[in-house]
C-alpha cells in the first residue's frame, strides 16, 4: 500500500528541503509526490531480500590521500561570488538573538 501523502507531509518535507511553498505549490507538490510514489510502488513487486544495496559501482576501496594542502589561496576569487561578504568572510543574517 502506497504511503498517503498529506499536506502535513509536504510541510515536513519542505522544512527538510529548505523550500517555501505557497498553498497552491504545496497542493501541486502533494499531487506530484503521490503520483511518483504510486508509480515507484512497482519496485515492491521485486524480491530484494538479502540483496546488498549498491552504493559503489566499482569496489576499489576507499581513496586516501595525505592531508597536505596543495591548492593556493583563492579566497578573494571565492568571496567574489558571495552575495554578501565582509572582511574576507561570508556574511549571513544574524543567527543568534
Amino acid at each position: 500500500m502506497t504511503e498517503k501523502i498529506t499536506l502535513e507531509t509536504i510541510e515536513d518535507v519542505s522544512i527538510l528541503a529548505k523550500l517555501k511553498l505557497d498553498p497552491e505549490e504545496a497542493e501541486n507538490a502533494r499531487k506530484d509526490m503521490q503520483k511518483m510514489l504510486d508509480y515507484v510502488e512497482k519496485l515492491n513487486e521485486l524480491d530484494t531480500d538479502g540483496v546488498e544495496p549498491l552504493t559503489h559501482l566499482f569496489s576499489y576501496g576507499n581513496v586516501f590521500r595525505e592531508d597536505i594542502v596543495t591548492n593556493g589561496d583563492a579566497s578573494e576569487e571565492m568571496l567574489a561570488n558571495a552575495p554578501k561578504a565582509k572582511d574576507g568572510q561570508y556574511q549571513v543574517p544574524k543567527t543568534i538573538e
Binding site: K18, M33, L43, E52, F58
Partner: protein
Amino acid sequence: MIQTETTALALSREIREKKRTVRETVQETLKKIHETDSSIGAFLTLRPEEELLEHADRIQQQIDDGTLNSPLAGVPVAVKDNLCTRGLRTTCASRILEDFLPPYSAGAVERLEEAGALIIGKTNMDEFAMGSTTETSAFQITKNPWNTAHVPGGSSGGSCAAVAAGEVLLALGSDTGGSIRQPSAFCGVTGIKPTYGTVSRYGLIAYASSLDQIGPVAGNVSDCAALLQAIAGHDPRDATSLVRKDLDFTSACVCDVKGMKIGIPKTYFQDGIDPEVKEAVLRAAETFRSLGAFVESFDLPLTEYAIPAYYLIASAEASSNLERFDGVKYGCRASEYEGLHDMYKKTRSEGFGAEVKRRIMLGSFVLSAGYYDAYYLKALRTRALIKQSYDHAFTTYDLLLAPAAPSTAPRIGVSLEDPLKMYLGDIYTVSVNLAGLPAISLPCGFDRGGLPIGMQLIGNAFAEKTLIRAAYTYEQTAQGLKTTPTAEKEAHR
C-alpha cells in the same frame, strides 16, 4: 569557410598543416554562431571575441613552434553550462547561479585546453540537468535544428543542437540518465556516455554523483572518440575517478565487426516504442548482421524497474547535492527575509524552477527517517539487481543494441505537462547509468517527418573501444545517413 561536412580531426589537421589559422577558425565559428543561433538558441554565454582571439594566437604560437601537435589543436568546442569554466559564466541554466563566475575550470575543460582546443561558449540545458527536453532551462528554449518546432532533447540539448546546426564540430555534455544519448538521437549527432569514472567529475556541478558522467558530442564517431580521448584520465580531485590503462580510443576506429556478438533486449521493442524507431533500429541490426556480426534477441530482465529506481536514487542525490545553493557562498540571495532560515528558504524557492523543486522534494522525502529503507534502500537494492542482469548479458554478448529513445523529438511545449510521462521516455537510457556502463548514441535513420532516429550501443564496463569500433563500422557503411539539417533542406529544394 569551415565546410559543414568537415570533421574536427580534419579541421585541426588543416590548422597544423598551415592551411588555415586558429584565428580564422575562431572567427568563422563565431560568424556561424551569430548567423544561426538566434533561431536555435543553443548558447547561453559566448566567450568574448577579444579573449578568444588572444587565446587563438597563443595556440597558433604553440603550433608554430612545434610544442603543440594534438589531434584537436585549434578546434573550437562548446561546453554544457554545468561544467565550470574559470572566469566564464556558468549557470546550470538556473536563476540561482545566474551570475556565477567559477574560480576554477572543470578537469575535463582543463584537459581540453591542454589539448589545444578552445572553449567558445556555454550551452543551454535543462536546469541542473533535470529534464529531457532542455525546456526546464530558466533562460531560453533551444530548438531542434532539424525542425525548430521540436525540442532538441535534454538535458544536454544545447550541446547537441550546436553540433547539429553546424555551429561547432565538438561539444561536451553530461549524462546522468541519458542526457547525452537522448539529445544526440533527437539531433542526429553522435554522443558517448563513458564508463563511470572515466572522465573526472571535478568541476561538474553535481546532480546525482553516483550516476553523472561527462562525455563527448560530435558529428561522427571518430571525432567523438578523439574528444573522449582528450578528456579521459585519472584525476585525484575526483575520488571516483578511475586509473584506466588503455585510453587510446581513436585506434578503435576500424571497420570490422566480424564475429562480434550483439544482443538485442526483447523488452526494449515491446510496449510504447514508436514503430518507425523500432524499424530503424532493427534495420541497423540487419546491417550489423550483413557485416558479419552475430546478432540475436534475448531476455534482459528487470527493464521495467529501471525508471522507478533511477528517479528515487537521482532525486535523493540531487536533494543532497543541491543543499549547497543557500544564498551564502555563491549565486543569488533573496532580497527580503527574516533571519537565516527564512533567507535559505526564500532564496531557494525563488532561485530554483519547478522541476528542480519537484526532485528536491521527492529526494528529501525518500531520505527522511521512516522512509529511507522503503524507498531509497529499496532502489539501491534494485540497482544491484539491474547491474547483475547486465553483467549476466555481457557473459554472452560483446555489446547490446537498443533504441536511444522510444520516439523522435517531441514538439516544443508538450512534455512538461506530465512529468511522469516525460520520465518514462528515459526507459532505454537510465539503466546504463545505474550499472555504470558505457554507451554510444548515433543516427540510424529518419522518421516520416524528417526527424532523426538514434540507436544506442551499450558496452560492458571499460569496453568503449568495442562500442567505438562497432559504431564506426556502422557509420562507414551507412554513409547516406551522414547529413546535416542544412544539407537535408537543400537536397529537398
